[in-house]
């Protein structure tokens, strides 16, 4: 049975939760008190490791392990909270920022305490003015209550949190581009190594974590890593926010424990099936950058590992549902249009390839493709895969290739019906 387990969204429907008073009434900042008075930084990290928390931005890297990469140095260390929620279909982080912002601030302070940072930047996408306002209000309140700034709660811990609005580039959600942008430069991803944990903002160790990841830290410290690890399933512990959109009866942002239901149960049961009642065609389970799953592939348990085995990914938790009114060619065009427009243009395969792929797909959409064009499309996308600085090229390649592989007949039909016909023989 699919049902919600609310941890991060427990008080989301309470308008008072946005205020410091309301947040404190519901147990807010107890985790910070506990950590600062009873736990060493190392114990906080250990608790996060025990919890099994994995990053919620898309890659799913174990959070505790990432924090351990921060070298022991005298350099300043930074936390950069990735709130540049720009992946099409994703709208979960704004629920936290706009309805319960203090849990993000508390989580940021706990994280900074754990790996020795004194400054956290929350990089919020520019198109989220409400999130920016909510966070700034919450930060002002927290600062006035000595929850931020010098000698927090009378301890020796000093830390501040700042909001930095983005300027509308999707690429700035890529962690290294986010750092370049924070530094005031053009949002270009950086080559790794060095990884940000070793050399990030202004060449100093920097941890980049997603909003939801940091929000989880608050609850892990409050209720224990052990408690968190028992939620969900192995490899996908805790609860996760999912943004269900597209052709479903009940779209929305929901909080689930992973591993308790299949993707089909979620869409056909919990979300009530397609809005139109037409047959389901496919689902993109992790945002527009992940491979599509066909309607016959949905009996997969909904957790990181199982969805990966099925050939896709939970990604950023954006579940996009298509009924059979959607054409695979059109969907692929849409995806290519987005990613080629958002390609930063820094490295060759993505800069040149994404636009080429977009133009090839438009030919299919216009039924103007030739024999061999489908093979060419697959070959060009193959050559973009794994050859670039960041994952944006793959964010185009994986879904486009998945649409071709899974709905090949629709692409072939676009060739057959083509007015151009075969070029030779």
């Amino acid at each position: 049975m699919t049902r919600e387990t609310r941890v991060m969204l427990e008080y989301a429907d309470d308008p008072a939760q946005k205020t410091l008073e309301g947040y404190r009434e519901n147990g807010g900042y107890q985790a910070l008190e506990k950590a600062l008075r009873e736990m060493s930084p190392d114990q906080v990290t250990a608790e996060v490791e025990t919890s099994g928390l994995r990053g919620r931005g898309g890659a799913g890297f174990p959070t505790g392990r990432k924090w351990r990469f921060v070298p022991k140095t005298d350099k300043p260390k930074y936390l950069a909270v990735n709130a540049d929620e720009s992946e099409p279909g994703t709208c979960k982080d704004r629920q936290i920022m706009e309805r319960d912002p203090h849990q993000l601030i508390e989580g940021s302070l706990l994280s900074c305490y754990a790996f020795g940072a004194k400054t956290a930047y929350i990089y919020v996408r520019g198109e989220y003015p409400h999130s920016i306002k909510a966070l700034e209000d919450a930060i002002d309140e927290a600062r006035a209550a000595n929850l931020l700034g010098d000698k927090i709660l009378g301890t020796d811990f000093c830390c501040d949190v700042w909001v930095h609005p983005g300027a509308g580039a999707y690429i700035c959600g890529e962690e290294t581009a986010l750092l370049t942008s924070l530094e005031g430069n053009r949002g270009y991803p950086r080559i790794r190594p060095p990884f940000p944990a070793v050399e990030g903002l202004w060449h100093c160790p920097t941890i980049v974590n997603n909003v939801e990841t940091i929000a989880c830290v608050t609850h892990i410290i409050k209720r224990g890593g052990e408690w968190f690890s028992k939620l969900g399933c192995e490899g996908s512990t805790g609860t996760r926010l999912f943004c269900v959109s597209g052709h479903v009866k009940r779209p929305g942002v929901y909080e689930f424990e992973c591993g308790k239901f299949t993707l089909r149960e979620l869409i056909e049961g919990f979300c009530g099936g397609t809005l139109s009642g037409r047959p389901l065609k496919g689902v993109m389970p992790g945002g527009s950058s992940m491979p599509v799953l066909r309607a016959d592939e949905l009996d997969v348990t909904f957790d990181i590992e199982s969805v990966q085995k099925a050939g896709s990914s939970l990604g950023s938790g954006a579940i996009m549902v298509f009924d059979d009114s959607v054409g695979a060619v059109g969907a692929a065009v849409n995806i290519a249009e987005f990613y080629s427009h958002e390609s930063c243009g820094q490295c060759t395969p993505c800069r040149e390839g994404s636009d080429w792929v977009r133009r090839m797909l438009l030919q299919f959409a216009a039924q103007d493709a030739r024999d061999g064009d489908l093979d060419l499309l697959m070959d060009v996308t193959d050559k973009m895969d794994g050859t670039t600085i960041c994952a944006l090229a793959e964010a185009l390649v994986w879904p486009v290739q998945s649409f071709v592989r899974k709905f090949r007949s629709e692409f072939e039909a676009a060739v057959r019906e083509s007015a151009v016909g075969t070029a030779t023989q």
Binding site: Q346, C347, K383
Partner: protein, 519 residues
């Protein structure tokens, strides 16, 4: 790169090599004479890894890695030409060319273009791109030195990084996004750096061309000489390119001890005087062109008279005025001639200008150190005195002598006709002869002939040696600069053991006492 002297053993394409720890794969591969193709990587610029042509395969690594940003580690096995690598390179090559105009026929870079080279070495020779290419700005003026073509640009950002990281002027930026990306120059769109022309050399393709050189010659019709810029005392190593005995350009040549990969614009553009139409090409006596033998005879007669009169003695005053543009071999011959005459008044003057903390040296001549070493004084000439004979090597600015100097007889070596000269010999530039100079930091370096001056021309060194032979019985000069250098090596302690080939293309450091060469 901190290596702490540690080394690592790596295998590159089956060849084992030991390199310093912290060496990247592109540099390590050079040790086994393997070129990993690269556009954006440059050893003196930050690593950005944006061109993606240097992808290589590393044993045990799931994905291909870029050679520029991957340092070798002990026991690493690298494949730079495996099927996987070849396929990826082909892909990058194809993508680099889909929007490139392929206008090699009218592009100045043709013949020395990395797109051409790598397309042949690593491409398929075909395109599968069936669309109209991107349209971007062409023939964009970035000031009076550099012209930009955005369609040819492959966005490697070498130029951006050079002006930012090495010049600190940070003048070029990146505009737009994705396939529309292009470069722009900030403010009024005009470059200001006095080193800006280095970006033309850095540009691996034809996107940045030199306003001075563009459309003058295809590079394969040119002949090149490894020589020096003689615009100042730095002695930047250059490759001088000439065609049909006209000098067309200079580009810097790598020398870690002197100029690294760079040169200043002032020096680079300081060559056009070589091609001046009004150069003096034949010796003249009393205002008339004469054969060398006649000019030599007339000059020898003047000098003979001076010698008999006692050379530098008070009754017959002789002045030898050298120039800091002369090579050591010329200075040696000149000093020898003056010795034979007993002349003690030996002067030269250094043209001074602006210096900076990069390459520009305030001494605007290549060999003031040599002039001092061979006994010429950087001191004013006594203009009040009545001179009987002046032997003068006129620098480009006329150099060294007051306009109103009183002299009964003048033997002048000059670029243009000197109307006051009794005997006027043609002067050659450093691009028209072989020789050595002592650059800043007491570095002995070679200049080499890039083009032939007038066909029957005798170099100044030969003229000086013949003159000496005419007034000193039995004196024999040398045939070549290399032989002249050998003679210097015998007579001057500082040059002991040095040979023409030993100096090589990169020069050697001399151990000179400050008293010998001055500051």
């Amino acid at each position: 790169m901190s290596t702490n002297g540690k080394t690592v053993n790596v295998t590159i394409d089956g060849k084992q090599v030991t390199v310093p720890a912290g060496t990247n794969i592109i540099e390590a591969a050079r040790h086994v004479n393997t070129e990993v193709p690269h556009y954006c990587y440059h050893p003196r610029l930050s690593v950005v890894g944006n061109c993606r042509i240097c992808l290589v395969e590393i044993e045990g690594w799931p994905k291909l890695q870029i050679g520029c940003n991957t340092n070798v580690s002990d026991g690493m096995t690298v494949f730079t030409a495996s099927d996987k690598v070849r396929e990826a390179r082909e892909g990058v090559m194809e993508l680099l060319l889909i929007n490139h105009p392929l206008d090699c026929t009218i592009c100045d870079q043709a013949g020395e273009c990395k797109l051409q080279d790598y397309a042949v070495d690593h491409g398929t020779g075909l395109t599968r791109f069936a669309f109209d290419k991107q349209k971007k700005p062409k023939n964009v003026s970035w000031g009076d030195k550099v012209v930009f073509d955005a369609e040819r640009c492959i966005l490697c950002t070498r130029c951006v990084r050079f002006l930012d990281e090495l010049c600190g002027t940070d003048e070029i930026g990146i505009d737009f996004r994705g396939e529309k990306v292009s470069l722009i120059v900030r403010d009024d769109g005009q470059l200001t750096s006095p080193y800006q022309m280095n970006i033309i050399d850095l540009c691996p393709v034809g996107a940045l061309t030199s306003r001075d050189f563009r459309f003058k010659s295809r590079v394969w019709f040119m002949q090149f000489a490894n020589t020096l810029c003689t615009g100042c005392a730095r002695g930047c190593n250059v490759v001088a390119g000439a065609r049909e005995e006209r000098l067309l350009r200079m580009v810097p040549r790598f020398n870690a001890q002197v100029n690294d990969h760079w040169m200043c614009d002032e020096g680079r553009l300081n060559y056009t005087f070589v091609n001046d139409e009004d150069r003096l090409v034949a010796p003249r006596v009393n205002g008339k062109d004469v054969p060398y033998d006649d000019a030599l005879a007339r000059a020898a007669a003047i000098l003979q008279k001076a010698k008999e009169g006692g050379g530098g003695a008070a009754d017959i005053a002789v002045l030898g005025c050298a120039s800091p543009f002369m090579t050591n071999e010329e200075l040696f011959s000149f000093a020898g001639l003056l010795d034979a005459l007993g002349v003690t008044e030996r002067r030269f003057a250094i043209p001074m200008g602006e210096g900076d903390d990069m390459l520009l040296h305030p001494e605007k001549a290549p060999n003031a150190r040599g002039a001092r070493l061979f006994g010429f004084q950087d001191a004013p000439v006594d203009a009040e005195r009545d001179w009987d004979v002046v032997v003068h090597f006129a620098a480009r600015d006329g150099g060294g002598l007051p306009d109103d100097l009183n002299a009964k007889s003048r033997i002048v070596f000059s670029l243009q006709v000197d109307k006051n000269a009794d005997v006027n010999f043609p002067l050659t530039t450093s691009f028209e002869k072989d020789g050595t100079v002592i650059s800043a930091g007491d570095r002995l370096q070679r200049v080499s002939k890039a083009l032939t001056f007038a066909p029957s021309h005798l170099t100044e060194r030969v003229v000086l040696d013949r003159l000496r032979g005419l007034i000193e019985d039995g004196y024999q000069g040398t045939d070549t600069a290399a032989l002249a250098l050998a003679r210097i090596a015998q007579e001057h302690a500082a040059f002991e053991g040095l040979t023409w080939t030993g100096i090589g293309l990169q020069g050697v450091s001399l151990q000179l006492a400050e008293a010998e060469v001055g500051a």
